[in-house]
Amino acid sequence: MRIFIDLWWFFKQERLKYFFGIVFLMLSSFISLLPPYVVGVIVDDIRTRSLSSFILGKWILFLVIIGVVYYCTGYLWRQLIFGSSIILANQLRNDLYKHFTKLSPNFFQKRRIGDLMAHATNDISAVQNAAGEGILTLVDSMTMGAMVIVTMSAFISWKLTLITLLPMPIMVLLTMHYGSLLHKRFGKAQAAFSDLNDKVQENVSGVRVIKAFGEEDAQINVFRKASKDVVDKNIAVAKVDSLFDPTITFIVAFCYFLALIFGSKYVVEGTMTIGSLTSFTLYLGQLVWPMLAFGFLFNIVERGSASYDRIRRLLAVKPEITDLEGASTQVPSGAIEYNISNFHYPESGSNVLSNIDVTIEQGQTLGIVGKTGAGKTTLLRLILREFDIKDGQIRIGGTAIRDVTMEALRSAIGYVPQDHILFSATIAENIAFAKPEATQEEVERVAKLASIHEDILHFKEGYKTVVGERGVTLSGGQKQRISIARALLADPEILIFDDSLSAVDARTEVSILQALKQERQNKTTLISAHRLSAVEHADLIIVLDEGKIIERGTHEELIQKHGWYAEMYAHQQLESLVSEGGGKA
């Protein structure tokens, strides 16, 4: 029941809705007790042959009124209680989303997106259920159950009530037991289904290998087994699920049986009328729901609590990077100085970067090269302050990046990441991501700079073409160039390219670099790359190896040194000549 205390803030916030909701719900329950009473009275009148058309008409009119009132109260409490629970889900979802936007990139790398999605969907709906169905079952099992039992014992016969209700607790216990059993088995069935999903996912992504090795039939067999497992687990669920109705029917029938046997005895003894007995059995029917509700209540509450705990834990995660107190809101500008003695990621102990001392003047270009895992990306992510450096400092125009707000720091920097993230929106909207108010001319201008304009015009709907998961599939190179255009549109003082030209061909690379040079005079650019041609023109190139700078200088200087850079350069020249067909055509 703790969930109701945990959600108290919400009940307080929506107190009027919940108050009236519960009032109407109780009223509904009360009203539903009246028709059986009417039936009892009429049966007795029929039996004693004292029924007149006036009396009958009166009761029928009464039933009509009951119908109308019940319909209205039923409508109202559903609207109020279920409506509120939807508002709760809506609020929690917004809170979670807002919280997500504050968490550091590191958080999203550690946690699986699928899990986070589950919190925002399954857990929220379990909490919503607790605030809706949970309240309903709580109120109904308590008040309606009590009302029916009180009515039965006060107005008809407390002895008969007691006798008849003997089997009911068995039903409550059984259905509760089924409920928890069902929950467990359902979890297993879900897991089997998700395995099946993974299997199909693997199959679809490995389709070429499967076809090349003639694995189709073997795959069908594996799938058949996985699918059979899903069937078996679901049958296990069905075995429990199918128990509910027969159990209830049988126990309720047994209650009827007791009611009739003992009721008849009282009728014969004259302590009860046959009409009362009829009403009694009808009331009995109305007890089934509150009893069931009592069983459901426990399951709903249990699930809601667990889910709400998970949501709260998630909301309690503190962002790793926050603005320092008194941080300046002035957008930093000027030379970039890296002074890092060493840096390692929070989870691992080994240094990713050590002894990095580089200064790049405003308006210059820094090239960063080196093998995979040498620390290129880390170096770039540090200036975005995705992590804080303990031993060292990065300064822009003499100000440590830690001493300005995140907002100010990010305003100074444009970032083109390694993996290109486009959103499900039109190409124009994607390019204008950082500046939604940009005009079409502005968008096209940067698209031209990024050499993507022509490609875009080839799409059926041009700049209005929708991309992302639900839209047109773009090639890696096209995605890269759109991300470049996106970063250019913001026109930041510092532009970061994290291996952002890897998927474009050499000719396009040259034209993009050319455009950058003209466009970004007096602005600083940091480029990391595998292909050395992308940094050839840089004012300073550093070669990283295992987090250390092993060579530095301009392209010409590095070629002279005959070190790693020079060898790599020669090698890449050859390869590009070969794969370009020797510059033919």
Partner: protein
């Protein structure tokens, strides 16, 4: 959006008919279960009649002979015991049938997908395909469970109750029949309205999830571009729309579900009371009959409530079924053997004769390609992205049908070979070395169980993958996770080499990786590749100098055409490409350059 366009629209009745046709696999079971259902319903319906007999024959006249009463009591409890047992059996049995039908349907869809051509996979986004095989069939499962369990059950129950009513009093039963039009109208209106609202809520929910998923994936970008506030508003808007749609559905349910059904119940109750009341003015009324009628009325509305709650599921399932059947009827099949000559690959001579090819039927990606690779020779394909290298490989693997020109192996047309012969004799090594969940040995052997543990090890040794495998804690039984993420790309490459070598193919088709891996593995890969090529006809998309240098024939492709061809030496003499290369290497040995990488 794309997904919807691919759909051929099938009519509702056709979909329903086809769905029901799956029942044919379980004729006997369905028949037995149906009989059990009838018995259970019969027992349910008889209960109130026993009560009526008790009230009218014994309670009202106050006569209580022991024997008949014991008989009545026993039969009352007995009837409900039968009803409980038989109902358990029938509900469970219908669920089992539904689940087994889905099993058949799933395997059918999956098998169909396995035999679809790559053209289909090129045109269908992976995510939506997965969702058709799993989620859509899951929705159809709900339909079977609903239709078989709830709707059949409820309908039979309602018929049973009417039968009981007619048995007790024909006139009153006829009067109660008046309720049916009310209920049917109610259901029809609810169905129409709810389907609209339901569709909207589903759309909103999927938008909500899509937005959230996308935001979570791109959060770093959103933050770097300082768009948190805007995205929060956008999400808030979708969330708000979703809430509005949900509230609408709550309103509809409040208006039309239980409360409305209860009103109809009250109308029924009023009719029964009036009927007996008016009768009682002049006649003696049997209280037992009245009791039984009210009891029936009580039960009559449960099935109605159940059916109404299931209506939305029903509609969603029809949409899913349409999608699944659309997939089952897809005609973009993989090319298969033509004729039944079944030649064998003996020497491994590969020949392309004037092959022109287009993926979409509009732009030709290969134009008049002709070349011959003699047994044991290596042909290197070079050229930049989009020049047609991969298409040549795709055709040789018979991934796509060849429409113009011909490909021949040992002089026999490619189309004549059986699938098995082709897959066993042509070994493909892809750039992206795909790993399956399982262990290392599984990944080398795949489904070819005749490959022994020894042969697996030999294959690994041959490509020198044994060194790293033996360092693994479980060696050849080291588990491989999703997409082989625990292995480096170099290791994955070596494993995929071993996989190909375990098949001992006659012809090797190689799509060399462009991405550079670490120096150590790189050397192992180079070495493995040259060993693998020995004695095998090799068609390679070459990126590595060593592969190109060793090739017996180099084809330089540009925009789907072969623009230059010859051996290394010939091309060197021709000048152009190889002349340039030679110049660059002068004074700086190639070995040096390769080693540096």
């Amino acid at each position: 959006m794309n997904e919807e366009q691919n759909l051929t629209h099938l009519s509702g009745s056709y979909v329903m008919k086809r769905l029901l046709s799956y029942l044919k696999y379980f004729k006997r079971k369905v028949a037995i279960t149906f009989i059990v259902l009838l018995i259970a319903t019969g027992a349910d319906v008889l209960g109130p009649i026993v009560m009526k007999v008790f009230i009218d024959n014994y309670l009202t006249p106050r006569v209580f002979p022991v024997q008949p009463l014991v008989f009545l009591a026993v039969s009352f409890v007995g009837l409900y015991a039968i009803s409980a047992l038989f109902n358990y059996y029938q509900v469970l049995s219908f669920q089992k049938i539904a689940l087994n039908i889905i099993q058949i349907m799933r395997v059918e869809v999956f098998a169909k997908v396995q035999h679809l051509g790559l053209r289909f996979f090129d045109q269908t986004p992976g995510g939506s395909l997965v969702s058709r095989i799993t989620n859509d069939t899951e929705t159809i499962k709900d339909l079977y469970v609903t239709v078989l369990s709830t709707i059949v059950n409820s309908t039979i129950m309602m018929i049973g109750i009417f039968a009981g009513m007619f048995f007790l009093d024909v006139r009153l039963a006829l009067i109660c029949f008046i309720l049916m039009p009310f209920l049917i109208v109610l259901m029809w209106v609810y169905r129409t309205l709810s389907s609209k609202i339901y569709r909207v809520t589903r759309v909103k929910l999927s938008q909500l999830n899509a937005k959230l998923n996308e935001s979570l994936q791109g959060m770093a970008m959103i933050q770097a571009m300082r768009q948190e506030k805007r995205l929060r508003n956008e999400f808030g808007q979708i969330n708000h729309d979703h809430k509005t749609a949900m509230l609408k559905s709550v309103r509809l349910n409040s208006l039309m579900l239980r409360s409305a059904v209860y009103s109809v119940y009250l109308i029924g109750l009023m009719m029964i009371l009036s009927f007996f009341g008016i009768q009682s003015f002049d006649n003696v009324v049997k209280i037992g009959v009245l009791y039984a009628f009210i009891n029936y009325l009580d039960r009559f509305f449960d099935p109605i409530n159940q059916i109404m709650q299931q209506l939305t599921i029903f509609q969603q399932a029809m949409v899913s079924a349409e999608r699944v059947f659309g997939l089952l009827d897809d005609e973009r099949m993989a090319p298969v053997q033509q004729g039944d000559s079944s030649p064998a690959v003996k020497e491994g001579r590969v020949e392309f004769r004037d092959v022109t090819f287009s993926y979409d039927g509009k732009t030709d990606v290969l134009k008049h390609i002709s070349f011959t690779a003699n047994p044991g020779e290596t042909v290197a394909l070079v050229g930049h992205t989009g020049s047609g290298k991969s298409s040549i490989i795709n055709l040789l693997m018979r991934f796509y049908p060849i429409e113009r020109g011909g490909v021949f192996i040992d002089g026999e047309p490619l189309t004549g070979f059986s699938d098995d012969e082709l897959r066993n004799r042509i070994g493909l090594v892809l750039q992206d070395s795909f790993m399956f969940v399982g262990d290392v040995a599984d990944n080398i052997r795949l489904s070819h169980n005749q490959i022994t543990e020894e042969q697996v090890k030999e294959a690994a040794e041959f490509v020198q993958a044994d060194k790293f495998i033996e360092k693994l804690p479980n060696q050849y039984h080291e588990p491989v996770g999703e997409r082989g993420a625990t292995f480096s790309s170099g290791q994955r490459q070596l494993l995929s080499f071993a996989r190909t070598m375990a098949q001992n193919p006659k012809i090797l088709v190689l799509d060399e990786a462009t991405a550079s891996v670490d120096t150590e593995t790189e050397e192992a890969i180079q070495l493995a590749l040259s060993k693998m090529r020995r004695g095998r006809t090799t068609i390679a998309i070459a990126h590595r100098l060593s592969t190109i240098q060793d090739a017996d024939q180099i084809l330089v492709l540009h925009r789907g055409e072969i623009v230059e061809r010859g051996t290394h030496q010939e091309l060197l003499q021709k000048g152009g490409l190889y002349f340039n290369m030679y110049q660059l290497q002068h004074g700086k040995g190639l070995e040096n350059v390769s080693a540096a990488k």
